[in-house]
């Protein structure tokens, strides 16, 4: 192992995952390709969704790939940052909404 977990050049090696398990890897990439095709949602819309999700899951490879992809597909810096804010709002909200459970529990046990 190298002395760090993430290396930008590894993104370009993503396709090599089929070296260790061909069938599953190929099925994944075929499915992945299908997911990002123009369909009920356009490839452009899917790119922005992917950018937001990339930030939600905090995947540096995905952020690299979909920052380029979304910009290439014509989204502005402002639109891209708003997509990141959507991801952040959902993540923040996901924590905060659990506060209701905390409140419920406190109300249950409090005198």
């Amino acid at each position: 192992m190298s002395n760090h977990y993430y290396n930008a050049t590894d993104l370009g090696k993503f396709g090599n995952i089929t070296d260790f398990q061909k069938e599953a890897g190929e099925k994944f990439f075929a499915w992945y390709g299908e997911v990002f095709k123009d369909s009920a949602l356009s490839a452009r819309e899917k790119s922005l969704i992917a950018l937001a999700v990339a930030h939600a899951v905090q995947c540096p490879y995905c952020i690299d790939a979909y920052s380029s992809d979304a910009y290439e597909k014509g989204y502005s810096e402002e639109q891209m940052m708003e997509a990141v804010h959507v991801a952040a709002a959902i993540r923040g909200g996901a924590s905060l909404v659990h506060g209701v459970q905390m409140m419920n529990k406190v109300k249950e046990i409090a005198m």
Partner: protein
């Protein structure tokens, strides 16, 4: 901003550019030879199909200094086609009816003092004429304000660069104020009927990526352009041509200055598409330089790679010989074969 030539940059030299593309830059990414890629898909030697486009670069003078310009054009460039060379081009067109499309480019072609005469003479020969108009030239000086009317009178197809439908991306690539003047220019073209259904006056726009990335789908982007330009500025146009930035001249300089060269070249080579390679524009086009020399394409012209044929100058034009020639290729050709392909008419697949 000045041209590379005016800056005294070593990249103003075509051989320096070719050397970087062939051998890399410092420890840069080593490109697979383009020749090898063509060999693998059975396209070597690359030969013409049916030559019908006669592209003429009437000079390198331009009112703009765009960051991605493969011509290194600008106000300081004095290379300009003479009326004598234009006459030789007309003689060639008269003798070769197969050359039914004449594509006039620059620089800003309108800055050539004999531009209008040349257009009129070509139209007398009943050829379809394309002018690559940068839009801002229309507003640059009073003497150009009637260009839309002139184009209309002579039924010229106008092809104009608009790197994006927003000001920031356009001005970043083409200079401050370019977007605003481009919009005005487009509105003036619309006013005389360009881009309006039923007029027969064709106005096509060109998209170039404003940065170190490849263009998106032409079809999808055209729909966005049409919607955005109509909603925001009431502008209509016919088609959008999506063109990949060629890693030569000022765009090569930009890639090197910003540390994007390796990644961009890797993207280009990884995106090599055999179908695009089969349809490259150099198979149906000849490119004539301001000084009358003949090239396979405008990019080879800027890299000073003349055709590999006995007929190398307009004064010794021989279409039969040129039809048989092997097309001169080099590493920059990856720019035309990536993804959906790229040509002066946009995507090729």
């Amino acid at each position: 901003m000045k041209s590379l030539k005016a800056q005294g940059s070593n990249l103003a030299d075509a051989l320096t550019q070719v050397d970087i593309l062939e051998h890399g830059y410092g420890d840069s990414f080593k490109l697979v030879p383009f020749q090898e890629k063509l060999q693998n898909v059975g396209l070597l030697p690359l030969r013409p199909t049916n030559i019908n486009i006669f592209q003429v670069n009437v000079g390198k003078m331009c009112n703009q200094v765009c960051k991605h310009c493969h011509v290194d054009a600008g106000p300081d460039r004095k290379e300009i086609m003479t009326i004598e060379t234009m006459q030789q081009c007309l003689d060639v067109l008269a003798a070769n009816p197969q050359l039914n499309v004449v594509d006039l480019t620059g620089g800003a072609p309108e800055m050539n003092p004999n531009f209008r005469w040349f257009v009129q003479e070509i139209r007398k020969l009943d050829r379809h004429v394309i002018v690559r108009c940068n839009l801002t030239i229309i507003l640059a000086n009073k003497k150009y304000h009637d260009l839309p009317q002139f184009y209309k009178e002579h039924k010229i197809e106008v092809v104009s660069s608009l790197p994006f439908y927003t000001q920031d991306r356009t001005d970043r690539q083409r200079g401050n104020g370019v977007f605003e003047d481009s919009i005005k220019g487009l509105q003036m073209l619309n006013e005389v009927g360009y881009g309006i259904e039923g007029t027969g006056l064709t106005l096509n726009l060109v998209y170039n990526p404003a940065g170190a990335f490849l263009p998106p789908s032409q079809t999808a982007l055209e729909a966005e352009y049409k919607q955005a330009l109509m909603e925001r500025y009431n502008i209509r146009f016919n088609q959008l041509f999506v063109i990949t930035n060629m890693p030569i001249s000022r765009y090569l300089d930009y890639l090197l200055q910003t540390g994007n060269y390796d990644k961009y070249m890797e993207k280009l080579t990884n995106a090599f598409n055999p179908a695009a390679a089969a349809n490259v524009m150099c198979r149906s086009t000849l490119s004539i330089g301001w000084d009358g020399y003949i090239y396979d394409c405008d990019f080879n012209q800027m890299l000073e790679m003349k055709v590999d044929a006995s007929s190398r100058h307009i004064s010794a034009f021989d279409l039969a010989a040129l039809q048989q020639r092997p097309i001169v290729i080099n590493q920059h050709c990856f720019g035309c074969t990536a993804g959906s392909g790229s040509s002066c008419g946009g995507a090729v697949t």
